[in-house]
């Protein structure tokens, strides 16, 4: 990880410039939101600008610019939440929105007016940006897209189609609540991805690669070049042309470092989001302090990793995040908390994991950057330990349900024969139950790495950016959904 440097992003503009609401206005609106007996009220304001470039068919086909402006107001009383949002920020409309949200409380007791707001915006930023992407000329961003596109196209004559997309956004948020908190954050986000389609003897495959995060233009020179993105997409598409169908049935699995963090995201992360424990729907709800996995398994979620896609200075409720230990040597140690679950679980410690897609959604506990800590095995020893098995090289996603059943989809794998990687194999879904699979993790490498900085997690209709990481892992046995 690089050393933190002071961000060169412009300091957030005063909220009045974006939202036209003064701290006094906000306090008055919070008072109104509590007027029906609410115990907690919050205003979340958002102003987001977004740029998009699409290249396909050898041309820069289209560009797009988007603006999102709005605010959401939430009122909590006990376990009830009232929520309203508007993109009309006139004081009159904002007051009406507050009253809509307030109605949930349906109490009569007038509350004391909320305390004056105190600005607790952090001075230092975790978004290490030298040259902000949102401010770079569009021509420069188009050049990045072209480089990725051309690299994929030129890689091999069997690459018949390429698509490359760039998107970047700058999000200003301001959160005010009835506890007197006022906090702002300005979050950059960049993503450059390439899809390559290969063809041979009438057979087609596709490859995908990409990168980004809360980074500046320098990322595409110093960390991951557009050329590398295009070439990797092409390479995967070509490899898959030679790939056989995946095997079917239970077998030992070795996961490549990086990408395979999706496994931890699905198998563990979601089910330790506090709302599922509070509602007792998660298989983990009664497992705090209990062993659920092998001694080798230690899992964290850390929203503070500099410039990661899943990182933030404050969460979407204004809580400073911290690295959160979820599983320690196989034992459940922590939950990802938001304010509502914390209140309803006897003021459990906040971890800074209350996130929302945008102002039109209320916050729920979410992952940020989830990873399994490194072990001590050498990756090559792990591979050598498997006589016949399946090696997961890259993953395209996964899903879990509260029972602990989870899947993840492999886009490229290899057969392991005699401790070595042999034939490439294509798409297969792996399935298991988390409390079985975590116990079967029996080798963990020292080579912790993170997956592509392009991931998005969906929960209850809300998408948020995330990153996952893991070292090389062996699972003694898991079901592979190939063909027989």
């Amino acid at each position: 990880m690089r050393k933190p440097v002071k961000s060169t992003l412009q300091a957030p503009l005063p909220y009045v410039d974006h939202f036209g609401l003064s701290p006094a206005d906000l306090r008055a609106v919070l008072g109104l939101a509590l007027s029906s007996g609410g115990e907690f009220a919050e205003i979340f304001m958002e102003h987001r600008t977004y740029d998009f470039i699409n290249m396909e068919e050898d041309i820069i086909k289209e560009t797009a610019e988007a603006v999102s402006l709005g605010l959401g107001i939430r009122v909590i009383r006990g376990d009830r939440t009232g929520f309203g949002y508007t993109n009309d920020l006139s004081l009159d409309k904002v007051r009406k929105t507050a009253l809509t949200a307030a109605a949930i409380a349906r109490g009569t007791a007038p509350q004391a007016p909320p305390p004056p707001l105190r600005d607790r915006t952090r001075a230092a930023s975790r978004y290490l940006v030298r040259r902000p992407v949102h401010a770079a000329p569009l021509r420069e961003k188009i050049k990045l897209v072209r480089e990725a596109y051309d690299a994929a196209k030129a890689h091999d004559p069997r690459i018949v189609k390429v698509k490359a997309h760039h998107s970047d956004s700058l999000l200003h948020i301001c959160i005010a609540n009835s506890e007197g908190l006022l906090v702002r954050d300005t979050r950059p986000m960049v993503k450059l991805v390439c899809v390559a389609i290969s063809e041979k003897d009438g057979k087609r495959e596709s490859g995908y690669w990409g990168g980004g995060g809360r980074v500046g233009m320098e990322y595409f020179r110093d960390v991951l070049t557009p050329r590398a993105i295009g070439e990797e997409a092409a390479r995967e598409a070509l490899l898959l042309l030679e790939a056989a169908d995946a095997p079917a049935g239970e077998m030992p699995i070795v996961l490549a470092p990086g990408h395979s963090g999706v496994l931890i995201h699905e198998a563990v992360g979601h089910l330790l989001e506090a709302d599922f424990t509070r509602k007792k729907t998660s298989i983990f709800w009664n497992k705090m302090g209990k062993r659920v996995g092998s001694e080798l398994v230690t899992i964290y979620d850390d929203p503070t990793l500099p410039s990661f896609r899943g990182s933030y200075n404050v969460d979407d409720e204004g809580t400073p995040p911290r690295r959160t230990l979820l599983i320690e040597k196989g034992v459940v140690r922590g939950l990802l908390q938001d304010k509502l679950s914390s209140r309803l679980m006897g003021n459990a410690p906040l971890t800074g994991h209350g996130r929302r897609q945008d102002y039109s959604h209320w916050p729920v506990p979410r992952m940020a950057n989830t990873y399994i800590g490194p072990g001590s095995d050498a990756p090559e020893d792990i591979l050598r330990s498997v006589d016949r098995g399946f090696y997961v090289a890259s993953l395209s996603g996964g899903q879990v349900e509260d029972s602990g059943k989870f899947t993840f989809s492999v886009s490229l794998g290899y057969l392991i024969e005699g401790g070595r990687l042999t034939a490439p194999v294509k798409q297969a879904t792996l399935i298991g139950t988390n409390i079985d699979i975590l116990k079967r993790i029996d080798r963990v490498g020292g080579d912790l790495a993170f997956g592509l900085q392009t991931g998005t997690c969906s929960k209850e209709g809300q998408d948020v950016p995330v990153t996952d990481g893991c070292p090389t892992l062996r699972i003694a046995k898991m079901t592979v959904g190939g063909r027989s």
Binding site: I59, E62, A64, E65, F83, E250, W362, G481
Partner: protein, 452 residues
């Protein structure tokens, strides 16, 4: 909580037309502006108590400009005129940085129009619904479900409704406008003890309030769907017939939809590229996309190119008759638009698999299966349109000698859409338009079920 007055903010149409004219003044050769005004109500009830209640209205605008055959888009939820004008100006300027695309351009003004009123997309009863009624429906649905002793936990019940007004204005003179409503009621449940949970849900979604399934019907289906999965077994890996329930046929058809869009075809991102006019399935496969079914969830009068929507036979008795195209994809492929433009891409209207004359009752399909898997839920994505390959986590009921024997979980199903279309052995009679993409029960001759 009182009833919301059914009045609507005026001037959406003015706003769209003003921006189109402004784009032209800024130098755009062609421009198109869409404006959407939406109102949302959502209540979640869990264990008898209101968990969340949302009420909100929002508006947004989208712009497409074309200058010298170069395209740029913009969109905003900030409808301040100064912001919108700036976005239009920027778009015209930004278009210059793109490359000319000989196929870029707005569709010509259509001579015919679909009468939006005849499509019956708007239910005036929905804005008149009292909040209390909506909350009571959710509460009642969950209450009935929780009366069943086998249900051990609840994800809660939800009532949601939307009212949306859409306006589209274009430099070719097209101006269109329509209103639509949606409402939905559903509940999610768990059964079993902590380490052996099963879950499922049921919901009903309609344009008209009177068409919603009753709380009793929704609760009964959700309970039945959940408890039938209790005490599952894992089975050995084998190749067997797989019967898709209608909820599962929906995703299979959703995958087919993604493979027959004109966009996927010109991008060579589908295994069905180059197959127009050819057999892609057996005679049991007839697939239609119909935007003109009155009151149906996917019906609409015009698409985002301003072209009238219509009924398109996509696959007729196994022969691929038409790709679904917006104006752009159609021009690239030398075809006609099917009125399927949806934003910048292609979207379904009511996309469904026809039961056909040989359709069987679902119970007869099961009765005619010696050994196989009745697929009831899937987990994970595992769909590749480039190859047609499918591999997903699966939950099902094992069929032996024509009867349901026991539930199965922690298995995967895998196969290829191309082969599935050729190997459909039976199609059910139970087509119910529960969503924009829907189909009846379908039996596929063979897929790999991977287990232990």
């Amino acid at each position: 909580m009182k009833t919301r007055p059914a009045s609507r903010p005026p001037a959406l149409r003015d706003l769209a037309e003003t921006l189109v004219a402004y784009a032209r003044r800024c130098g755009a050769d062609e421009a198109e502006v869409s404006v959407i005004d939406g109102y949302e109500f959502n209540v979640d009830v869990r264990k008898g108590r209101i968990e969340t209640l949302i009420e909100a209205g929002s508006r947004s605008a989208g712009v497409r400009v074309i200058k010298d055959k170069k395209t740029a888009y913009a969109s905003s939820s900030d409808l301040d005129m100064a912001t919108l004008r700036r976005l239009v100006r920027n778009a015209v300027r930004r278009a210059e940085l793109g490359n000319p695309d000989e196929f870029a351009g707005l569709a010509p003004l259509a001579t015919e129009r679909v009468d939006a009123a005849a499509l019956d997309l708007y239910d005036p009863a929905i804005p008149r619904l009292d909040s209390r009624t909506k909350i009571a429906l959710a509460r009642e649905t969950e209450r009935i479900a929780l009366r069943d002793r086998r249900i051990t936990n609840s994800y809660g019940a939800t009532f949601a409704s939307n009212e949306i007004r859409s306006v589209l204005a274009m430099t070719n003179g097209f101006v269109g406008e329509y209103e639509q409503t949606y409402c939905g009621l559903g509940v999610g449940l768990q059964a079993g003890d902590t380490d052996n949970r099963v879950e499922d849900s049921w919901s009903s979604s309609k344009r008209h309030f009177k068409d919603l399934e009753t709380p009793e019907a929704i609760a009964r289906k959700a309970v039945e769907r959940t408890v039938r999965q209790l005490k599952p077994r894992k089975i050995p890996t084998q190749n067997v017939p797989v019967i898709f329930e209608p909820t599962q046929t929906s995703w299979l058809l959703g995958f087919l939809f993604g493979c027959i869009t004109g966009t996927a075809v010109y991008q060579k991102a589908t295994f069905l590229e180059g197959k127009l006019g050819q057999r892609i399935g057996n005679e049991r496969v007839t697939v239609v996309d119909d935007a003109l079914m009155p009151g149906a969830l996917g019906s609409h009068p015009f698409d985002s190119d301003g072209l009238p929507c219509r009924r398109t036979v996509v696959v007729n008795k196994g022969e691929l008759r038409s790709y679904l195209c917006n104006y752009y994809a159609a021009r690239k492929l030398g075809l006609q638009s099917t009125g399927s433009a949806d934003g910048g891409g292609v979207g379904p209207a009511n996309f469904y698999l026809e039961p056909g004359p040989a359709a069987l009752a679902p119970r007869d399909i099961i009765a005619g299966t010696k050994k196989g898997l009745l697929l009831i839920r899937t987990l994970g994505h595992g769909l590749n349109s480039v190859t047609g390959d499918i591999s997903r986590g699966a939950f099902g009921l094992w069929i032996e000698d024509g009867a349901i024997a026991y539930p199965v979980s922690e298995v995967t199903i895998s196969g290829n859409l191309g082969r599935i279309l050729e190997e459909i052995e039976a199609v059910g009679t139970d087509l119910d338009f529960h969503g924009p993409i829907s189909g009846p029960t379908v039996k596929v001759a063979e897929m790999t079920v991977a287990g232990s």
